[in-house]
Amino acid sequence: MMLPKAAWSLLLRKGGRGRRGMHSSEGTARGGGKTPPYTNCYAQRHYPMPEEPFCTELNAEQQALKEKEKGSWTLLTHAEKVALYRLQFNETFAEMNRRSNEWKTVMGYVFFFFGFAALVIWWQRVYMFPPKPITLTDEWKAKQLQRMLDMKVNPVQGLASRWDYEKKQWKK
C-alpha cells in the first residue's frame, strides 16, 4: 500500500528463487545430466563422496560412456572425462566451496533492526520517559559541584586541584 508499484513487483519477484538463490553466482543447470528422483545426501567438504551418483538415469550415450569407463582410462577423451565426473558429482569442490553474497543480506537485516530499535527508543524518549530526577537537573548539579569544591575533593591531582580558589575559576 505504501510502496510504489515497481517496488511491489520487485518484492513479489524475489519469491522465485528465494533469498539464497538471489545471491548465488551460479544458478543455471548443467547440460546433459538429469537430477535424480531424490538426493538424500548432498556432497560437502567433509563428505565428498555421496552415496548416489548425481545422475542415475542415463541416456544411451551416457551408458555407452559408462561402458567405456570399464576399459582403459587412457582411451578417454578430455570431454568424456569431464562428462564422467559430471555424471557422478553435482558440483566440483571449487563450486561447492564458493563464497556467496549472503553476508550482505545478513548485515542488511542486522543494521535495519538496529535502526528500527533506535527509532523505538527515540519515541520512548520523547513520549514515555519520566522527567529527570532532581539530582540530574542543572541547578542541582551546579550546587553539587560548588559543595565539592568547598570540601576540596581530590585536592592533589583531582577536581579541587584544578580550581583556582583565589580567582574563583578553573585553572587555565
Binding site: W73, H78, Q88
Partner: protein
Amino acid sequence: MLKPPARHRRRHAGAALRRCAVAATAQAGPRGLLHSSVHYEEFDARWVTYFNKPDTDAWEWRKGMNNTLVSYDLVPEPKIIDVALWACRRLNDFASAVRILEGVEDKAGPHKEIYPYVIQELRSTLNELGISTPEELGLDKM
C-alpha cells in the same frame, strides 16, 4: 584429538604433510598422545591394507574415504592415495579418482605446497591409469 606442538610438525618425514592424533574409529585402539613416526607408519599401513583389498566394494571405498580419511585432521600419505586410486580402477570409477585428488587439495587447506607434492609422488600412477588431475580437466575453476 590434540595437535602436536608446532616444532614436532616440522620434524616428521614427508616434508609438508601435517599430522594430528588419530580420531576414534572402530579400528583404532586407544591412542595416546604419541607423535612418533612408528605410530604414523602403523596408521599408513592400516589404510593401505584397507584399500588394497581386492574385493573392496564401492560402499567400503566410500566409507573409507568419507567417514575416516577425509574426517581425520591430516592429509593422507601419497601411498594411501595411490592404493585408493587403484581401488577406483577396480571399481571402474574414474570420477571418484579425480574427486580424491580434489579432496587432497582441499584437505591441505592453506598449505599450498602439499598438493603439488602429492601429485608429483602419484604422477606415475596417474599416467599409468590415465587419471587426469582436476586442473587438467578444468574442474578446479568455477
